[in-house]
């Protein structure tokens, strides 16, 4: 067999195997979600109608396809519960991103200024928590934040408060959880841009009479904007669809959309509505994701 023929065959295999896998287990499942979001809930198994059977043939499918309706979407648009859940998710994710930036930036800044010999260790220390379980890191906060938890014990022992603060089950607990879980994602890109920065720029500014603080505002901060944007996106996008943090730390009155979807599915067994919730969530996230991809592409182009 000639080498070209073999090469062409290899190319087929290398492409087709992962391609087919992703078509079957990623694209088709998503199309099914899309389809079911136009169906009607039924008390049956599977709990929705219409159900397409191979035996129906094309004509039968067409008849059933006529049963599709936008009812689930109208229902979601009408019900303030869902509207609030979407708005709350975006609001909480946005606020938590801001807090993460306020804590992450000084940390990244301090790391970038650390002696060279220390930096690899500091970097390792930021990366290490990733390899430990997300669930465990969220769980660790329950013992600290609950009314008889450690934080309240310490604050009361110090005489700062007389009554335990109620943090568990409020939005504050969700903020703490998101900031804690996603902090490294904020620190890494900011550190990367700050570390590349030319320190002599600051020295020059100071020689020309800039105070350290104004040199920071005029030079360091503008130069680190790509890192800030990357960090904020890496925190904001996953935080919107977050389920574990609001479920374990938040209260029953805080409905974030990931949790709403979960409840619709597991508690109410309303598969069509949860599918519609998923489709809308994806539509909301497409905007920041596409913008961010585009921004990253432009940044790499500039770097070349």
């Amino acid at each position: 067999m000639s080498r070209n023929l073999l090469g062409a065959m290899l190319k087929r295999i290398v492409i087709l195997v992962p391609y087919t896998w992703l078509l079957v287990f990623f694209l088709i499942p998503f199309l099914i979600v899309f389809k079911i979001s136009f169906s009607t809930a039924e008390i049956a198994m599977p709990p929705y109608s219409p159900v397409f059977e191979w035996a129906d043939g094309l004509a039968g499918w067409w008849e059933k396809a006529k049963e599709f309706s936008f009812d689930n979407y109208l229902w979601i648009a009408d019900d303030p519960l869902y509207r609030n859940a979407y708005l709350t998710s975006v609001w909480i994710a946005g606020t938590a991103t801001l807090f993460t930036l306020l804590i992450g930036y000084p940390l990244a800044y301090g790391m970038a200024r650390a002696p060279h010999s220390l930096r690899p260790i500091l970097l390792m220390l930021v990366i290490l928590p990733f390899w430990t379980s997300f669930l465990i890191r969220v769980y660790a906060w329950i013992g600290i934040l609950k009314p008889e938890g450690l934080l309240n014990q310490v604050l009361m022992a110090l005489g700062l408060i007389n009554e335990p603060l109620i943090i568990m089950g409020t939005n504050s607990a969700i903020y703490v959880g998101i900031v804690y879980s996603y902090l490294p994602f904020m620190v890494l890109p900011i550190y990367a841009t700050l570390e590349k920065m030319d320190g002599s720029l600051i020295e020059a500014a100071q020689d020309l009479g800039c105070t350290p603080i104004s040199a920071f505002w005029k030079i360091t901060l503008p130069l680190s904007i790509p890192g800030i944007i990357a960090g904020c996106m890496l925190v904001f996008i996953p935080a919107v669809g977050e389920f574990v943090i609001p479920d374990l730390l938040g209260g029953s009155q805080t409905l974030m959309i990931g949790r709403t979807l979960w409840m619709e599915f597991f508690a109410n067994r309303d598969w069509p509505v949860s599918s519609a919730v998923a489709v809308i969530l994806l539509l909301i996230l497409v905007v920041p994701i596409a913008w961010f991809q585009n921004y990253q592409a432009r940044q790499t182009e500039k770097g070349r």
Partner: protein
């Protein structure tokens, strides 16, 4: 060089205290004699004993390990193939769809991935259990593997493989003899990432799993909802120790190999100074590349 100011040091120390304190507290309280998780009642290892007698947790642990080993291995093969396909073949039909499908799962909220896979398994009438969780984990982790391997392939000099083929090696052999050893660190990093992601996943497993295949995160989650117990603290401590030892050992081995290489290259062998400098630069470049994959891995996790 810019000074490492007191403000910088303070922000680094406080930042790391925030990152590590909750985990340290969790570990300390796993050795608490008292059942109350927040009141110290003396040192004891009894919860570890309880843990090993808890059949439910132990079963879940083994299910999780089996799922993680199997899914990480298959995901590494598929992810590496996908990375090769995207890196080598810049033109084939459906490439845009393919690259979209490789990147989309990274930013897809877990609740949506889980829901869509569940609906697929229901649609084709596949009984949910061990295999469905494994399939689901392969699908979402292969994309992370592909990102990590691709970032290594970008810097790989393809003429090496072409040279091997010109010398008569068949393409498959050239890949295994030349390319794979060079990209191996990234492939291993991809495997480790896939393994820990699978070990850690709660949301996708909850959707994809059925009776008889409860994973450890699912078990921990259901117990955490009932309240914090020292037993769960003990389970978490073991998981953290497991991961920390693995990551630290891997980085020590990697470092020793590199130091060995530099020593072999530099000392005694009559290398000239420019050669030695070149070898050292090469080594530094490799270290920088390694840090880069680690960061890519971390960013790809964040982008979920």
């Amino acid at each position: 060089m810019l000074k490492w100011t007191r403000f910088n040091i303070a922000s680094v120390v406080l930042g790391f205290a925030f990152l590590y304190l909750p985990i340290v507290i969790l570990i300390i309280f796993s050795f608490n004699e008292s059942r109350l998780v927040t009141v110290w009642g003396g040192f004891s290892t009894k919860w570890y004993g309880e843990l090993f007698r808890n059949q439910g947790l132990m079963d879940a642990f083994w299910v999780t390990i089996r799922v993680a080993l199997l899914s990480a291995t298959v995901a590494t093969v598929l992810g590496t193939l996908a990375a090769l396909a995207l890196n080598r073949y810049t033109r084939f039909r459906g490439r845009i769809l393919f690259s979209g499908m490789v990147y989309a799962p990274l930013v897809m909220p877990e609740v949506i991935t889980g829901l869509s896979l569940l609906l697929l398994f229901v649609a084709i009438g596949f009984d949910r259990g061990f295999w469905t969780v494994t399939l689901a984990h392969i699908t979402f982790t292969m994309c992370f593997v592909s990102v990590v391997v691709q970032s290594r392939l970008v810097t790989f000099d393809q003429s090496l493989e072409e040279a091997a083929m010109d010398l008569g090696a068949p393409p498959v052999k050239a890949f295994f003899a030349v390319t794979l050893p060079i990209i191996a660190p990234a492939v291993i990093a991809g495997w480790m990432l896939a393994f820990t992601l699978s070990l850690d996943d709660l949301v996708i497993a909850s959707f994809a799993s059925g009776p008889g295949a409860t994973t450890l995160p699912m078990k921990i989650y259901s117990q955490v909802r009932l309240g914090v117990t020292p037993e769960i603290n003990a389970a978490c401590t073991i998981l953290i120790a497991f991961v920390a030892v693995g990551v630290i050992a891997a980085s020590i081995v990697q470092k020793r190999n590199e130091v060995q290489r530099v020593r072999d290259g530099c000392s005694g062998s009559g290398m000239s100074r420019p050669q030695r400098a070149a070898e050292r630069a090469n080594w530094q470049q490799r270290a920088a590349e390694r840090a880069n994959w680690q960061q890519r891995a971390v960013e790809s996790v964040a982008a979920r």
